[in-house]
Symmetry: D2
Subunit: 347 residues, 4 copies
Amino acid sequence: MLLVMSQIRAGIINVTGYIGVEIARLLYQHPWVMLKSVTGRSLAGKKLSEVFPHLENTGLEITTEIDEDVDIVFSAMPHKTSLNVVPQLLEKGIKVIDVSADFRLKDADEYPKWYGFEHPTPELLKNAVYGLPELHRVDIAGASLIANPGCYSTSTILALAPAVKAGIIEPGIIIDSKSGVSGAGRTPSMTTNYSEVNESIAAYSLGGHRHLPEMQQELGSLNSGIPLSITFVPHLIPITRGILSSCYAKLKNGISLEEDDIQRMYSDFYKEAPFVKIVGKPPRTKHVWGSNYCLIYVTVDKRTSTLIIICCIDNLVKGGAGQAVQNMNLMFNYSETTGLEALSIYP
Amino acid sequence: MLLVMSQIRAGIINVTGYIGVEIARLLYQHPWVMLKSVTGRSLAGKKLSEVFPHLENTGLEITTEIDEDVDIVFSAMPHKTSLNVVPQLLEKGIKVIDVSADFRLKDADEYPKWYGFEHPTPELLKNAVYGLPELHRVDIAGASLIANPGCYSTSTILALAPAVKAGIIEPGIIIDSKSGVSGAGRTPSMTTNYSEVNESIAAYSLGGHRHLPEMQQELGSLNSGIPLSITFVPHLIPITRGILSSCYAKLKNGISLEEDDIQRMYSDFYKEAPFVKIVGKPPRTKHVWGSNYCLIYVTVDKRTSTLIIICCIDNLVKGGAGQAVQNMNLMFNYSETTGLEALSIYP
Amino acid sequence: MLLVMSQIRAGIINVTGYIGVEIARLLYQHPWVMLKSVTGRSLAGKKLSEVFPHLENTGLEITTEIDEDVDIVFSAMPHKTSLNVVPQLLEKGIKVIDVSADFRLKDADEYPKWYGFEHPTPELLKNAVYGLPELHRVDIAGASLIANPGCYSTSTILALAPAVKAGIIEPGIIIDSKSGVSGAGRTPSMTTNYSEVNESIAAYSLGGHRHLPEMQQELGSLNSGIPLSITFVPHLIPITRGILSSCYAKLKNGISLEEDDIQRMYSDFYKEAPFVKIVGKPPRTKHVWGSNYCLIYVTVDKRTSTLIIICCIDNLVKGGAGQAVQNMNLMFNYSETTGLEALSIYP
Amino acid sequence: MLLVMSQIRAGIINVTGYIGVEIARLLYQHPWVMLKSVTGRSLAGKKLSEVFPHLENTGLEITTEIDEDVDIVFSAMPHKTSLNVVPQLLEKGIKVIDVSADFRLKDADEYPKWYGFEHPTPELLKNAVYGLPELHRVDIAGASLIANPGCYSTSTILALAPAVKAGIIEPGIIIDSKSGVSGAGRTPSMTTNYSEVNESIAAYSLGGHRHLPEMQQELGSLNSGIPLSITFVPHLIPITRGILSSCYAKLKNGISLEEDDIQRMYSDFYKEAPFVKIVGKPPRTKHVWGSNYCLIYVTVDKRTSTLIIICCIDNLVKGGAGQAVQNMNLMFNYSETTGLEALSIYP
C-alpha cells in the first residue's frame, strides 16, 4: 500500500444531531478523509469538544457556515431544510450525501402526502441516488448526490430484498420494527425523556410512518410482478442504539423451501456485500452495536408457510452515519469498507 | 361494609420464583386472604424476608412442605412438576390454581409435542378450567382446578378474541410479542444476564413457542368458522416487566370497518371485564406497570386492509400472579377486583 | 373500625409533574380522601387520563384554578412559584403541603444564596414545619403549612440523624448520593434525554446542591455540639426511581462500636417510625421501589474507623409524594400509614 | 511508515470471559499483532464466532490448550488459576500479561488475607510489574510478566495519584465507586440477573473489597509521608460498561488551592499519558464508552476544604483489556496508543 492516495476534505452540515456527530467520529477515524468543517446553528462558536467530549481529538470548532473548500458535504439537517442548501453545493461541484428524506423519493408527488411540502426541485430527485450500496453500488459510485436511506428502511429493505427479487412471497408483508431511542434524534422531547421510555415499550405511527414510501419504492422496483402491500409498525424500545426488524410474508402457493435453501438464496444475494451477514440463528442488536454490519436471519414457519426474516443493524451506523461513509467510499473509489472495519463492541 | 365475611387461608408452592413472590405480595395485601404457608426447595428454612426484603411484613418462613390446612393452593412450580402435586391437593378438597402449563391444554396429545412428556392424568385436563376470566368467568367460579394462562397467551388471546369471535379476519394471523426479562424467571442464565440483555433486543423460539398451542386452543374455540393459522414470534427486550403484543390480520374480503366501529366492537366484547380497557391511542407497557390492567388499542391499516391490535399487560400481574388472584376471587365469590385495585405506578 | 370518619377533600396544584401525578395516585387510593381538584397550566382542559392513562379511574379533569372548597392543597409547583399561592390558601383556612423548597429553610437569608431570590414572606418560614415525620411528628400534626423535604435530603437526614444525635461522629461528613432520573422532573431536557442518560453515570452540582442547606439545618439542629461540615455530591444514574445515599463519617476518637451496637442504636432511634427499617445487609433501591419505605444499613469500617451508612428510598414516594401523604395523615389525625401500606413491587 | 515491522503472535487463555473476549476484539484490530490461539474450557472445540458473533472475522477456534508458538500470552483466568500456568509460560520465554490478581500484590502475606490462599511463587511477585502505564511505564517496557490492574483500582489510583504524590491531602480518603455489571463477569448469577439489577442500585463488599490492597500498595508507594487510610465502597449500577469513582479527601491544613491550580497540577502529572484527560467539568462514563480513555475532573469543595475527584473509565477497556494492550504496546516497543485509537462511541 502506497500513500500516494491523497486525502479528500469533508464537511458536515448540522453536526450536532446524533447522525451528524456519528459521521464526525467515523470521518475522523477514516484514513483518507480530512474532516475540515462542521456547522451547527445554536452551538456555533463552540468547540466541538465542549459539546461532545469524545470528539476532542478532532480539534474542530462548530461554525455557522460550511467551509466550501471541500470535496464532499454530509448534510445532516432535518427534513425540508436540506432542500435549500444542497442545490448550491452541487452547483459548486461539491458532492453531497444528504441524510434527510429530501431526496429519497423518486416520485415528487409523494412529498406532499408524507412530508407535507411540495418538492421545489423535482429534477434533482432524478439525479439523486438512493444510497443503499447493496442495491445501488454502481449508481452510487457515479453519483453527485446521495439520498442516504432511513434507518428503518435500511433494515427492512435489506431483510426483504432477496425474497422479493426471487418472487417467492405473496404481496402482503408485515414488518414489525423495534428501534432504540437515538433514532428519534437529540432534541429533547417527552417521547424521549428517560423516565417515559425506560421500562416501557410502545408502538407508534400506526397511521403510516414516513419510511414506508421508501420501502415501497425500493422493494417495489425489485420485482414488478409482486404488487407489494406492506404493513409497517415501528416500536420504541429502551435501548440507545439498534433496530431489529421482524418481517413476515406468506410463501407463494406451491413454494416449499427449507431453511437451508432460503439461507443460501440470501447468502448468494449478498455475496458482494461486505457488511451484510446471513446468520444461522436469530441475531441480537448487541451483535452489531457500534458497527456497520447488518445481520439477517431467515427461516420458514412450516406450520403456516410463512417466511420470517429477522434483521439487526445499529441505527446510527448502518442505519445512518456508517452507511453515509460507505457511500462516500464508493463515490471516491475507496474500498467500500475503509474506515468502517471496527467490530461491534460486546457486551 | 361489615367484616362478617371470613378470610380464607392460602398457600403458595414454590414461592421463590418471580410469579410465586408476586402472588405472595398480592395475597398479603388482599383483605380476605390469610397467606399461611409458602414453600421453596433450596431456600427452605429461611425467612421469606431474608430472600425478599419487600415481603418482611408477611412474617412468613419458607418451608419444604405446604401446610394443607388451607382453602387454596397456588402452585408456582415449573412445568411437569405440578403434575405430581396437584392431584393430591384436589383429593383433599383444596382448590388449586396452577401457574404452570401442566393443565392448560385440553388435548393430552399436545403435551408430548410441546412439552416432551406424556400427560399422566388426562382426565384432570377435562376438569381444569383455563383461567382467563374474560373468556371463562362462569366456569372459573365453579372450578376446583385452574390452569393459569401463560403471559404471552394472556396478551394475545385478549387482543384477538373479539376479532376472531366476530369472524371479521382471515385465518392467517401474525403475532409479534415483546416481553420483559422477568418472564424468563428468576433462575440465573446467560440469556437473562444483565450485560447480555441490556442494550439489545432479540427474537427467539422461532421454531415454535410453547404458548402457541394455548392461543390456538382458546382462539380456535371462539369461532369454528375460521381455521386459524397463527405465526407467533416472541422477542426479549430490556425491561423487567411488561409484554406488548402486536397482532396483525387481514380483514375478510368485503369487510370495511372504521377504527371507531372496531373499537366499539372491542369495548362491547369486554364491557363486563373490569381489567381490560380499550384505549384510543397506542398504549405503552408503562401504563400497566405493576397493575392487573390490560390495555388494548385496535385500528385498521386502510392501505392494506389489515387489522392491527396492540395489547399491553404486566407479565407478572395480569400475565401471572394478578390473574391468579383474579381467578381466586371468582372461585370464592369475591368481587373480581378485590386486592387488585392498585393503579399502575408511573413513571 | 367504624366508617363514621368522614372523608376530607384534597386538591393538587400542578398535578402534571412526576410528584404531582404520584400524589394523585396515592390520594385516589387513600380511603379517607376525596381528590377533588387538580390543576395544571399547559394541560388545563384535558382529562387527567388523556395525559396519564393510569389515572383514568379518577375521572378528573385538569383545571386552571384550584377548587378552594377543599381541606388540603398539595402544591407541586416549581420553586419560587409556590410563594405566590400558598399564603392565600392558608388565609382561607386551607392546610397546605408544599413540595417545593419555598418554605423549607428557616433562615430567610439562605434563599438568595441557594435559590436566587429574597423570600417575600419570612414570617411564614417560622410557621412552616419541615415535613420529615421521623423528626417532627408532633409539630407536623399541628401544622397548617408543611414544607415537604427534598428527595436527597430525606434520604441523607434519615441516614445520619441517629449518628449525629448520638454525637459519635466527627463533623466532616461525606455524602455520595445516586438518584434516578425522575428526580429531575417531567420537563424534557438534554440532561434527561434517554440516549444521554442510558448506559452512563455522572456526578453533578459539585459546586453545591440546593438540598445541602436543608441537610445542614435539620442535622445541625439535632446536636449543637458537632459543627457539621457536609460534602454532598449527587449523581445521576440510569434508573427511573430510587435514591441510594452512601454516607461516610469518622467515628470520634475513642469511640469503638460494633456493627451490632450501632444497628441497635439506629433501630432504637426509629422505633416509632413505621416506614424506616434498619436492615442487616446493604439494601438495594429495588427493595423500596414504589413504596414509602426507607431502608438503612449502618456499619463500621474498622480499618479506618469510619461509619458507613447506606440509605435507600423511592425518590417519588418517601422522597416526595408518599411523604406528603404521610404528613397529611398526621395533620388529619389518621394513622400515619393509611394509604401507604403498599409493599414495594419486585422485581 | 514502512511495513518492515513484523507482527507478533499472541494467545489468550480463557477467552470466554468479558475481558478475554474484549482482548480478542482489540488484538484482532491491532496492526502489529496476529491473534493466533484462544482457549476456553467448556467451550473448547467451538468456533469463536459461534459464541461471539462479533468476532466472526477472526476465523479462530476455541481450543483447550494454548498454542505456545506465540510471543505473548494474555491470561484471562479467574484468580488463583493463573498461578498454575504463568510460570511455565515465562520459562519458555513467552511474555505474559495476567489480568487476574495473582501477581498484583507485592506482599505475599496479603494473599491469604484477601484471596484466601498462600501464594506459591512469591519470587514472581517481585518480578511482576503492576501494569498501570501511567505510573510504571519504564518498568512495564522491560517486563516479562505484567499484573494487569483491577478495574476499580485503575480508576481510583489514576484519580488520586497526583494528589497523593503532591502531598496535599490528609490520609483519610473516601472512595465511592460505581461500576457497570460487566465488571462482575460473564458467568450467570443472581447478582447479575437482569431483573435484579435493572432499576436498582446497591452498595456491596462493605467489609472490604479485594481491590483495596492494590490501591493501598500503589498509592502508598507514591508518598511515604502520608499514612493512607482508605475507605472504599463499590456500588453496582444498571449499565453494562463504565466505572465512575468519586474520591474525597480533606486538603491538608493550610493548603488552599483554586480549582485551576489543582487542575493544572493534574494535567502536569499526566502530561505524558496519552489516555488520561483532565477535563473542565464532571465527566460521564458515556464519554469513555468503548475507549481506552480515562477522564478526570478535580475540584475543591471550598465550604469543607475537601478535594473531590471524579474519574471515569470503561471498565472493560482502560479497566481491563485496553490497558492490557497498552501494556503490550510498551513491552514490544510499539507506540503506546497503537490499536487503541478508537474514540468513544456516543451516544
